[in-house]
């Protein structure tokens, strides 16, 4: 499906992803996508340690001594902690799969291009909102981690990391989750961008740990249209991009079993997400990225900061 959704006037206002990918700059792609969906910055209801002072509170052991107001102590002999308005109220981690399977594409762009563009779009969107955005790319292992920040140049650093070509031979979905569990004690948002064409064993318990911490998790499964249709016309030899394994097959004979196994896997993934309260969206690379962003915003606004706790032991 290459056509984008039509506008109310009958004209298509969404951009074909293949056309969008011709823009070399990832930042430009993100700017274009975000252009029509930006809602403006909102003020944060949370407090942090920043420039704008809000109130004092009494010191309790364990607080950082850097935030003690020594002038109040000198004047009133009380330990008071100075509190400031925190500009950032969301710490979002973009978890992007850069394994070789993401390098597949049959409609003029690869899944990796699509995922990188979507990640850049989300990062730009959140950056405009004043949120801190971090990035973790992974394949067989965690490849790169950029902690969430909101400062000048950070977005460009993210873009640079996203532009790397996927070269990991296999996909290990557990590695990034485990790594982020150890790195991010503070709750935030986790946006998982992957094709999830990997064993799901053990994923549920780790995701449950995320959810238990309070992270809001959204999983975008990015697929190629041919992966969904398996519409090869002639007998061919398929090469596994990750393992390099070759397999000669007659597509007519293999299509049925493939589609059954593929849908079974996706269904399993989707149920896993439902059980954990993880938002799950399946994106096909011929769909306009604006729709993906819209779905992200819809999902976020719908779920708010509600944390659904689900017992990890019930995971399949």
């Amino acid at each position: 499906m290459k056509a984008a959704s039509p506008s109310p006037s009958g004209k298509s206002t969404l951009i074909d992803p293949a056309t969008l990918m011709r823009l070399g700059s990832l930042e430009w792609r993100a700017r274009i996508i975000v252009e029509g969906t930006r809602n403006g910055l909102h003020r944060s209801p949370y407090h942090g340690f920043s420039v704008e002072f809000t109130e004092y509170r009494q010191y309790t052991p364990g607080d950082d001594l850097r935030h003690l107001d020594w002038r109040v102590f000198a004047r009133s002999d009380r330990y008071e902690i100075k509190k400031f308005e925190d500009e950032t109220n969301l710490r979002c981690h973009l978890v992007v799969d850069q394994s070789r399977s993401m390098g597949y594409g049959s409609c003029g762009l690869t899944k990796a291009d699509y995922a990188a563009t979507l990640a850049a779009t989300l990062a730009y969107f959140l950056e405009l909102r004043g949120d801190a955005v971090g990035l973790l790319t992974f394949g067989q292992t965690v490849q790169e981690y950029i902690p969430p920040r909101h400062r000048t140049g950070h977005l460009r650093q993210l873009m640079h990391a996203l532009e790397k070509t996927p070269d990991a031979r296999e996909t290990d979905l557990l590695a990034p989750v485990q790594r982020l569990l150890s790195l991010v004690p503070k709750r935030g948002m986790m946006v998982f961008l992957s094709d999830f064409l990997a064993p799901l064993d053990g994923l549920e318990s780790l995701l449950a740990s995320w959810v238990a911490i309070g992270h809001e998790v959204i999983a975008f499964q990015i697929l190629d249209p041919r992966e969904l249709a398996f519409d090869f016309a002639q007998p061919t030899r398929l090469e596994d991009l990750e393992t390099g394994r070759m397999l000669a097959l007659d597509p007519n004979a293999a299509r049925e079993s493939y589609l059954a196994a593929f849908h079974r896997h996706n269904e399993q993934l989707q149920k896993l997400c439902e059980r954990l309260g993880v938002g799950f969206r399946q994106l096909v690379t011929d769909r306009p990225l604006e729709l993906a962003l819209t779905e992200f915003i819809d999902h976020w606004s719908r779920t708010g900061r509600r944390v659904t706790r689900t017992s990890a032991g019930r995971a399949a």
């Binding site: 597949y104 992966e227 596994d240 000669a248 097959l249 896997h265």
Partner: protein, 696 residues
């Protein structure tokens, strides 16, 4: 069909490659990357009968392309034997033998003949062979057409018999022009263009320096002609040549003057002392004392000989080297052509207004062609013997009857009588000489003057004025003349007329002699004829009508022609060996000087000699370097010493293959087949790329 590089046929083993490729391609046709094979079950494709048939076609096409490529690289060619369809000959061979004077050196000619026979013996039945010699010009001995017209079993015998009769000439060597002509002859195909014979020009020569081969450098050789040289080496290299440095003309030779000759020593000679002197005709020695001369190798010295001890000696000899062909040079002794003119008239020789004075002044009194004028009073007492030997008899006054008869006798014997009319009183004498009853004469006095208006320039009397630039006679005025009625002399031919139409000069042939009549006289009282520049040539034209020789050089080289005016009198040419050949009337050129020596042309009352000598360039006998042929751009064959044999088979095959270039056609066929294969494959891929509805 033969192959020049048959090992390339091993490339035919590559025919197995397309089979292997096809077998591989059946299972590995396309490689399509896919994200993950985790959900794909093994289901190998099944081949259809249709695809097998199409692959078989491509297999055959690719095998054929490889096969043609291998054949092309093997450089195939059709041997000449196949092309000749039974004829076993492979070459068109022209054997060119140098027969110049330098080939007279000891052993050179015999070796040349032996090499030529060897070349003939290596020819095959179907070969085309011609035999030519050359010195200063090309001479056919046995042409290609003669060879082909002869029965194949007699060709070699005829060629050998003609070869045996050959001998070197005395002429110089014009190698470049003769080789060029021979190359064109051997390149001709005589309507057999379909038979690609190998054209070979085999030169057998001593390759001497003086062969004038330099101009060969600018020659563009006919394509396909190979040039092979068989160098004949002389047994001895000690050669010196003798040459005469003649004066400009024969008239400048004086027997009393010393003679200068040049001695040139070959650059490779090992001797430098020689003797030069007048040769003794009766022996091989000298007449008188020879002059000792030292000439270093490669240099030339001029030697002044003493005055010839005997005027009859006409050759100078050199002694001291090994080869004698250029050791003698001929120096002619001028022939004295003293003649006398008998003048019958009454005027004294000292009277500057009378004809005798001008006659004596006009004719040369000294030199080899001196003319002596004897004047006689026309009386009956003149002894006949005094003037009987005169070349010309001039009559200006009436003669007594006693003189008429002897004059008429001389006329009948072939003498020339010039009758100039000082007055009408001579009419009786004219009538008696002409043998007519009477001649009508009357004194004519034109108002101003008369001119010669109508002249027969074809007549020998006016032959010196044949050129139109000498035609102007309008400045010669005749004040008085005698009007002669031409009808009274019916046999007379009018050579010139006055502008009034009256005859001025007539000729009457009497017996073997002739009577030339001038109706006026050259005395100033009658005309300006004696004062004009045309008077002397006119007189000489009457005196020596046949001996106007145009070639005046004292020395000619062997083969040089010389020219002279056409003769009406019988003449003979005497050759150096003493035999004489009559020169036909009307001959203007003589080309028969084939040997050095003294040639003598004897005519009526006059003789002329020429010395014919060897070309000095023939004495430059040092052989030129064999590399010079390549510098001249000649397509020199594989090896000069062994060139008598036909080229080896490999060289012949390479040349044949180079001419046929069959590999080009194999390559073109390969490209065409590969192009067709690409088109077929492309079409099939397009067909396969179209979606098949039944797959859904």
């Amino acid at each position: 069909m033969n192959f020049l590089a048959p090992w390339f046929l091993l490339g035919g083993l590559a025919l197995g490659l397309p089979v292997v490729f096809h077998l591989i391609q059946r299972t590995t046709r396309d490689r399509t990357p896919f994200s993950s094979l985790r959900f794909v079950t093994v289901s190998p494709p099944r081949l259809t009968k249709r695809s097998r048939l199409e692959d078989l076609l491509l297999l055959l096409v690719r095998c054929l392309a490889l096969l043609l490529l291998a054949l092309g690289f093997a450089r195939p060619f059709l041997p000449r034997s196949e092309l000749l369809a039974g004829a076993s000959g492979t070459q068109r061979l022209l054997i060119l033998i140098d027969s110049s004077a330098s080939m007279r050196r000891t052993g050179v000619w015999a070796e040349a003949v032996r090499r030529a026979e060897s070349a003939l013996s290596h020819t095959q039945t179907g070969d085309q062979v011609a035999l030519y010699t050359f010195d200063r010009e090309l001479k056919p001995i046995l042409t290609f057409s003669e060879w082909m017209a002869t029965a194949s079993d007699q060709r070699l015998a005829i060629a050998r018999s003609r070869l045996a009769t050959l001998s070197p000439s005395w002429a110089s060597t014009q190698l470049a022009s003769c080789v060029e002509r021979a190359a064109e002859i051997v390149a001709e195909r005589d309507g057999e263009k379909s038979v690609p014979l190998q054209s070979r020009l085999l030169l057998i020569s001593d390759q001497q320096e003086g062969s004038h081969a330099d101009s060969l450098a600018g020659y563009e050789w006919p394509p396909g002609v190979s040039f092979e040289v068989v160098a004949i080496a002389a047994q001895s290299r000690n050669n010196a040549g003798l040459h005469w440095a003649p004066p400009a003309g024969l008239a400048d030779i004086k027997p009393s003057d010393p003679v200068q000759v040049r001695v040139s020593n070959a650059s490779e000679s090992q001797r430098d002392r020689f003797q030069v002197g007048w040769s003794d005709p009766s022996s091989t020695g000298f007449k008188g004392n020879p002059v000792e001369v030292t000439v270093p190798p490669g240099q030339t010295r001029t030697v002044t000989l003493p005055v010839r001890p005997d005027p009859a000696l006409q050759s100078v000899r050199l002694r001291g080297d090994d080869d004698a062909f250029d050791n003698e040079v001929f120096i002619p002794t001028p022939v004295s052509n003293h003649r006398s003119v008998a003048y019958f008239g009454t005027d004294p020789a000292t009277d500057t207004h009378q004809p005798l004075f001008f006659l004596k002044s006009a004719l040369p009194g000294t030199g080899p062609n001196a003319v002596e004028v004897h004047a006689y009073l026309p009386t009956s007492l003149i002894p006949t013997n005094d003037w009987a030997a005169s070349s010309l008899l001039v009559v200006t006054d009436p003669l007594p009857d006693s003189l008429i008869t002897p004059l008429r006798t001389r006329l009948d014997g072939g003498s020339t009588v010039l009758l100039s009319m000082k007055s009408v009183a001579i009419s009786n004498t004219l009538a008696q000489l002409a043998g007519v009853p009477g001649v009508s004469l009357e004194e004519a006095a034109p108002p101003d003057f008369a001119l010669l208006g109508e002249i027969d320039f074809q007549h020998p009397v006016f032959a010196p004025f044949t050129d139109p630039k000498f035609h102007d006679f309008t400045r010669i005025h005749f004040w008085k003349y005698r009007r002669l009625d031409a009808a009274s002399l019916p046999k007379a031919r009018v050579v010139a007329r006055f502008d009034h139409g009256d005859p001025a000069i007539l000729q009457l042939d009497l017996g073997r002699g002739r009577l030339i009549i001038l109706t006026s006289s050259w005395a100033p009282v009658d005309s300006q004829w004696a004062l004009s520049t045309k008077f002397v040539p006119w007189l000489l034209g009457i005196l020596e009508p046949e001996a106007v020789v145009e070639t005046t050089a004292a020395q000619l080289l062997v083969g040089d022609p010389w020219t002279f005016s056409p003769n009406t009198e019988p003449r003979t040419m005497r050759f150096p060996d003493g035999h004489t050949v009559p020169v036909p009337t009307g001959t203007t050129q003589f080309n028969g000087a084939s040997t050095p020596g003294i040639y003598r042309l004897d005519g009526a009352g006059s003789s002329r000699v020429w010395a014919v000598n060897l070309d000095p360039s023939e004495s430059r006998t040092t052989p030129i370097d064999s590399k010079e042929w390549a510098r001249f751009g000649a397509p020199v064959g594989p090896s000069s010493p062994a060139a008598v044999a036909p080229p080896p088979l490999r060289a012949s095959g390479a040349e044949t293959e180079g001419q046929q270039k069959l590999w080009r056609w194999f390559l073109v066929a390969t490209l065409l087949i590969l192009g067709a294969e690409s088109i077929v494959t492309g079409l099939r891929r397009l067909r396969q790329a179209q979606p098949t509805p039944s797959l859904a």
